[in-house]
């Protein structure tokens, strides 16, 4: 449906409206950033590889908004969105994608390993499944320290078939850890449909009972729905209620990584999901709820400006000094293996 049909006259802003605008701002910022990252990859400025969250922004936005400042995020190589959603400055993320000294990891991590500990982003992990047990560890430490922090761990549908998933979910339940596992089910692994290699229909939700957990599925393209389910799970974990496993149904607009056109996906499927693009649909919902379009336009313009600025800063930044390769292997700052 077109947004205009829905438009009503602007009105006073409620708390809920502010939350909605925050969510909209986040999806728009991520969308704008990812579109730019794709362009820079095609221009050869982003080297190696890059995995985008285009179409999947609502999950990062909803959880980011539900998390406390000191909560922990663990994500994958497809982690630009989650890194930004915790407030990591765009320039540092863009700098890392471009392999600059100004990057959040000084250019040593790259697109797949974005990390910003000061923003609670404890790392982007590029080995399928590896970070689920690690997220448990952060949750265990929060529990031991009585800090009330919660660890939120994002991963894909394909990740539910690797052993580390199983080990992590079981231990999380047995130790009653404050951790929330979020499966971003975008229906595909790299180029293979999850349905072709999985014993159950819902790769995460149909496994929940194997760990004594409730089966939870949410529309991953609906920022409000994600925010609601995230708030419930995170609050429960913080209150000592233990872990959750949430399956968020979503879809990536582009391919798996780099220049993959994603042609292994049926046209109708792509078209159907494009109808559910979280950015225009959420925009329409807000307008329908009577939010002043000017506010939305302002958000969109601010996002463009910020991404432009971040891109400029990253382009202007220097590559890492060669000596940097020999730093931070060890806590003493160096890399010597001999006395």
């Amino acid at each position: 449906m077109s947004t205009t049909e829905l438009e009503t006259t602007p009105r006073e802003m409620s708390d809920a409206d502010h939350t909605s605008l925050g969510l909209y701002e986040q999806v728009v910022r991520i969308r704008t950033f990812e579109e730019r990252a794709y362009r820079l990859f095609m221009e050869g400025l982003v080297k190696g590889t890059s995995h985008l969250s285009l179409g999947m922004e609502a999950i990062a936005a909803g959880f980011g908004a539900a998390m406390r400042r000191d909560d922990y995020t663990f994500c994958t190589y497809r982690g630009h969105a989650h890194t930004l959603a915790r407030g990591t400055p765009m320039a540092g993320v863009m700098g890392e994608l471009l392999g600059r000294a100004s990057g959040v990891c000084g250019g040593k991590g790259g697109s797949m390993h974005l990390t910003s500990v000061e923003h609670g982003v404890m790392g982007s992990y590029a080995i399928i499944g590896a970070h689920l047990p690690i997220a448990n560890g952060a949750a265990w430490s929060a529990q031991a320290r009585g800090s009330g922090q919660v660890a939120v761990c994002f991963f894909g549908d394909g990740t539910t078939n690797i052993g580390a998933f199983h080990e992590a979910l079981n231990l999380a339940k047995v130790w009653n850890l404050p951790v929330v596992f979020v499966c971003e089910n975008n229906l595909y692994m790299e180029y293979t449909a999850i349905g072709e290699v999985t014993a159950v229909e819902h790769p995460a939700a149909d496994r929940a009972s194997a760990y004594g957990l409730e089966s939870i599925i949410v529309d991953g393209n609906d920022p409000d729905a994600v925010y609601a389910v995230a708030t419930t799970a995170i609050d429960r974990a913080r209150a000592g209620g233990g872990p959750s496993l949430i399956e968020a149904k979503t879809y990536r607009h582009g391919g798996h990584s780099r220049a993959d056109p994603g042609q292994y996906r049926p046209e109708e499927e792509v078209a159907a999901w494009m109808q559910r693009d979280p950015v225009p649909t959420y925009r329409a919902r807000l307008l329908g709820a009577g939010i002043d379009e000017a506010l939305l336009t302002a958000i969109e313009q601010r996002a463009q400006a910020d991404v432009d600025a971040a891109t400029e800063q990253a382009r202007a930044a220097l590559p890492p000094d060669l000596q940097a390769a020999y730093t931070n292997v060890w806590a003493d700052g160096g890399s010597s293996w001999r006395n």
Partner: protein, 325 residues
Amino acid sequence: MAELITYRDAVARALAQEMEHDPSVYFIGEDVAAAGGVFKATKGLLEEFGPERVRDTPISEEAILGAAMGAAMTGLRPVAEIMFSDFLATCWDLVAVEIPKSRYMTDGQVSLPLVIRTANGGGLRFGAQHSQAVENWAMAIPGLKVVAPSNPRDVIGLLAAAIRDPDPVVFFEQKSLYPSKGEVPDGEIVDTLGVASTVHSGSDVTIVALASMVPRAVAAAEELEGLGISAEVIDLRCLVPLDTATVVESVKRTSRLVTVEENPRLCGWGAEIVSIVAEECFWHLDGPLTRVTTPHIPLPSADALEDAFLPSVSRIVEAAQKVVQ
């Protein structure tokens, strides 16, 4: 007749040759069938041999190698792809503790004619978890054969030999070499495992290299010629079985050794070559035995850094000059 093909296409040609040759050869891995592999090195195999023999798997490396091992002990000759050699760590129990020990522990009751193909090494700006050169991990495990070709022709000859071999073979394809081209003769190509090749003859120093380091070693040898140093370059091709005869014979002539490996510094295969030479050629040596390696650091992602720390032609040249002077 011969044609110029890529290292990447050589992989598919070798697999097709062997699946054609032996109906008990099966091929499994992640995204290998319908997608033809993430490096496009297995394109066309599903179409040619069908979904029974060419299968996509879940992201379950232990299940993939377990399937290969159990099938190999019961009559198939499976080839299993582990997409990146870094991921061997997620199924290392199968690679290091199950597959190589089964024949021995059963005193010969179990045979495991299987091949693990994997994309190895750096140079693509993939960062520390997708760029490791881990052929030394496999060499350290008794019961594994270890192969790493440096050119398209050897990809075919050695992969065919690995598939026909009655023992488990870990076959390292250097991912930085996939786009590289080389002359390949027509018709079936099957080599013998454990035979190194001297790709550049010389008399002052022996340079031992493998896979992606071979073209760099050859370039260094050419540069050294201009500097009045005659370097012999040996492409090991296999780490197990290891062609020590070729290395020892060469070092006894040149009296000097430089190894060039992509492995990080400590306990790489270069250390094994140096140790063999230090024991078996000691009285022939005229200079310190030197290794050119990646420094003992995780590989950084930024292109500027990655290029600076993988062994380069200039580092090989310097090392050779140092041992000769």
